[in-house]
Amino acid sequence: MSTTSINALVDAEQGSSLWRDAWLRLSRNRPALAGFAVLTLFVLVAILTPWVAPYDYAQQNLELGATPPSADHWLGTDIFGRDLLTQIMYGGRISLAVGFIATAVALLIGVSWGAIAGYMGGRIDAVMMRLVDILYALPFMIFIVLLMVVFGRNMLLLFLAIGAVEWLTMARIMRAQVQSLRQQEFVEAAVSLGLSPLAIIWRHVIPNALGPIIVYTTLTVPSVMLLEAFLSFLGLGVQPPETSWGLLISFGTETMEEYPWLLFFPGLVLAITLFALNFLGDGLRDALDVRGAKD
């Protein structure tokens, strides 16, 4: 057999791999791709905001006041004469950061918790998952409001509180995956080779359980962003002079009769982001063939 035909064989084999298949299915899913493109754009803009924002964040122009969209201010200005597009860009930095960082916190806690419980089994598993059951029954929204009241409206706390709430489902999914995986021969082989449980979980179990985790992560980001918007709307989340989309919507609501664009544009951006994340999540679920990740 020549080298080229071996390469062709390798290619053919890769062609049928789970990830390649999933990628093919995803690339045929237009809404999911569009969602991915929009998200990439928003994230890039958020990262580059200090350099690409058309105006200075804090620059007020009280004489100008609130003006509708114009050539100078594409999305108009708020009652202090601040450029709305700039406000939305800076708000997006915080809204997206909350979305991604809180999800990362949830991912870290949930995956480790579920993997350890599922792999250890027995009494450790029973205790760990009982705790998850108990936490599941708590009304978390109320608890986050409580936390924000008790500890002041601290951004770091907001990240942690939301992340600490959202890891439960992740832990359950991970545990179910691990339980079915640890029966399999390659894990038994790794055990008989003398690998430590931690190494087995990290090297063999987690990579094989990635599909559902990726899908659920994508679907967690929008619910986290909603939580942040919800808290900021009530005045319990992000505080001025910082801003976020939820806070902009809240201010827009106060003056929506006279200046509807102040409500409309931040709302539109939030809705588009949620659409993009949901479409991408649904697309990934179909592509990776994950059942029952969310509904």
């Binding site: 059951d133 108990i134 029954a137 708590l138 009304p139 929204m141 109320i142 608890f143 409001v145 409580l146 936390l147 924000m148 009241v149 008790v150 500890f151 002041g152 929008p222 909603l226 918007a229 919800f230 709307f233 009530l234 005045g235 319990l236 939820g246 919507i249 809240s250 827009g252 609501t253 929506m256 009769e257 509807p260 409500l263 709302g267 939030l270 809705a271 949620l274 659409f275 949901n278 479409f279 509904d295």
Partner: protein
């Protein structure tokens, strides 16, 4: 069945105890005492106030006394409204919130199940895509955005409906109920579509059709019972969501419900009110999760044995 209910009830008790304990100690470690804002208070008055609210005793003693009060159903006095108890405030606010949540749930169920079933009858046609796209829109427009938009369109531009209040003017309950229910309508539509799609391909449906039962009866009588199990399972979490969602909706529409009290208590640092309302809402949510589980087990007997085994 009774054993199932009993075991679920037993599980609810530790959950509630965790809620009460965590809330109690969180509130106690909160920076700034409840009376620190009132500068004019003399030390004697302050001491008297603290004695009245038992704040001069050790925390553990306060906790045990609070638990004792709770068992008697007493949530304590409000810090901010002297002379009013948390019980009174909850009694004033909760009926309003419950009514709002009930209407929202009705809106969600009617629209959601209707849309989901209609969509499931002809999958992958316009009859499926249109309601399901609407559901996607419903999921992506949160209540904090939908509420103001509805006010702007129906309250201000068209001037069809009142935009605030509760029971003061005819029709002022419509917009809050829709705002609160919309997201759940969307989720229920997706759940009932998926449930119906799965059920309608099963053998017993084919048998029903073969017996010559009219199609609407097959769908409504035979299909719905199995197809709606995921919806029933969703009702518990949905109710929890409706209660906390009412925080935003009551704020937008100025509805004098428990949600608005809670948010105001949060701003005023009315710790006893926060503590009492948290305990009250949590118990309610735990009870509703329980009811939803029981209803689900009743509709789907297979769940009873499974739940008995691993939880």
């Amino acid at each position: 069945m009774w054993r199932f209910i009993g075991s679920r009830l037993l599980q609810a008790i530790p959950v509630l105890l965790v809620v009460i304990t965590v809330t109690f100690f969180l509130v106690r470690v909160a920076p700034g005492g409840p009376f620190s804002s009132e500068k004019a208070v003399t030390p004697e008055v302050k001491a008297a106030l603290e004695a009245q609210y038992r704040l001069d005793r050790p925390v553990l003693e306060q906790y045990i006394a609070y638990l004792g009060d709770l068992i008697r159903g007493d949530l304590g006095p409000s810090f901010k409204y002297p002379g009013r108890s948390v019980n009174e405030l909850i009694a004033a606010g909760f009926p309003v919130t419950a009514e709002l949540a009930l209407y929202a749930l009705l809106v969600a169920l009617l629209i959601g199940v209707g849309a989901g079933v209609v969509a499931s009858l002809r999958p992958n046609t316009a009859q499926d895509y249109i309601p399901m796209s609407a559901a996607m829109i419903g999921i992506c427009i949160p209540s904090l955005l939908l509420g103001p938009l509805l006010i702007l369109v129906f309250g201000i531009y068209l001037d069809w409906l009142p935009v605030s209040g509760w029971g003061d003017m005819p029709g002022d309950k419509i917009l809050p109920a829709i705002t609160l229910g919309a997201v759940y309508a969307a989720y229920i539509a997706r759940l009932s579509r998926a449930g119906m799609l799965e059920v309608m391909t099963q053998d017993y449906i084919r048998t029903a059709r073969a017996k010559g039962i009219p199609e609407w009866r097959v769908v409504v009588v035979h299909g719905l019972r199995g197809g709606l199990t995921p919806v029933v399972a969703f009702l518990g979490p949905a109710f929890a969501g409706l209660l906390s969602g009412s925080f935003v909706v009551e704020t937008i529409f100025q509805v004098p419900g428990l949600g608005r009290f809670y948010v105001q208590a949060a701003f005023n640092r009315d710790y006893t009110m926060i503590l009492g309302a948290t305990v009250f809402l949590s118990s309610l949510i735990v009870v509703f999760n329980l009811l939803s589980d029981v209803l689900n087990a009743w509709m789907n007997p297979r769940l009873r044995s499974r739940a008995g085994q691993n939880t």
